[in-house]
């Protein structure tokens, strides 16, 4: 099972999957892309619509006093939390070498729009990190350690993790 899911379940977190904005927008057969290619009004509007669909669930948890954290996919142009992929001159035919992009410290487009929607609802910023799967070279051991450190830092944060799902 995914190490992220394992780590979260071991610590008693419930899981709420976020929709994949790129899948719904550009499909499963999309080419790879960088932040600048998705930074368009149409894609941002799409992300805002997805954020409006998922934000009520997040809001419900926060209003209930649950601890809510956000885990993205670092390096992704959409889902990156700490890092996204960037190459301002990418465009046209996808004939560039696979590793011809740069990793820069910023949110992906989807995470930016999701956080903006939560903010519009008057909700606090969520503690957030990214699983570094989309960074070029994936170091699973390092990523696991990174995630555990992040989760350690969340323990004791305001709110309480729910132990039961009695509302189902």
């Amino acid at each position: 099972m995914s190490p992220v899911v394992e780590a979260l379940r071991r610590r008693g977190y419930e899981l709420q999957q976020l929709p994949c904005p790129e899948l719904a927008f550009a499909g499963v057969r999309r080419w790879w892309a960088v932040y600048e290619q998705y930074d368009t009004p149409a894609y941002r509007a799409h992300c805002r619509q997805l954020a409006q669909a998922i934000a009520p669930l997040i809001e419900q948890h926060l209003r209930h006093g649950d601890e809510v954290i956000l885990i993205g996919l670092d390096g992704s142009p959409s889902t990156g939390v700490r890092f996204t992929s960037s190459k301002p001159d990418w465009g046209g035919r996808p004939n560039r070498p696979e590793d011809d992009w740069e990793i820069v410290p910023r949110r992906g487009v989807w995470i930016e729009e999701l956080e903006a929607e939560l903010s519009r609802r008057g909700l606090p910023a969520l503690p957030a990190t990214g699983w570094a799967l989309d960074m070029g070279r994936f170091d699973e051991a390092g990523s696991r350690a990174d995630l555990e450190q992040f989760l350690d830092s969340c323990d004791g944060a305001p709110g309480s993790r729910r132990e039961d799902s009695s509302s189902q």
């Binding site: 999957q17 929709p19 499963v28 998922i54 189902q168």
Partner: protein
């Protein structure tokens, strides 16, 4: 798409199976573990309630997967509500010209181990016709 590492299998799973209530854990199989062992990815269905916008987003994703060579199944819980928003989801899929995926219902009273095996058997049996697999899964 050579070297594509995708699994080509997606299961629709209700929140109550992904985050089971503590009292239900003894009677329900660990569905995420069974799906993972069977090579399936997951699309999570929200809890009951008014979730029209999110269900439409999920239906779009199912349509995209279904139109491009993915085997899509639904795994629910037998009872008054299977957790899959089945009626609403069926209508949304119909609008998108997508057939309802095959549905497997967990029977909690039969025990977690037996139901886990029954789910694994269901997942192993199902896939798209070979021609469809060849068309997409290059």
């Amino acid at each position: 798409m050579s070297g594509d590492a995708r699994g080509w299998r997606i299961a629709l799973v209700p929140d109550r199976l992904i985050n089971p209530a503590r009292r239900a854990r003894a009677t329900l199989p660990d569905v995420l573990r069974v799906l993972d062992a069977s090579g399936y990815g997951v699309l999570q269905l929200p809890r009951s309630g008014k979730q029209n916008l999110l269900l439409a987003v999920i239906a779009d994703q199912i349509a995209e997967y279904s139109h491009h060579g993915y085997a899509v199944v639904a795994v629910g819980v037998r009872g008054a509500s299977d957790g899959l928003h089945w009626r609403r989801l069926s209508a949304l899929l119909r609008q998108r010209r997508v057939a309802r995926p095959p549905r497997h219902l967990i029977r909690a009273q039969r025990g977690a181990a037996a139901e886990g095996q029954r789910l694994a058997d269901f997942l192993a049996r199902y896939d798209l016709p070979v021609e469809e697999q060849r068309r997409w899964r290059v």
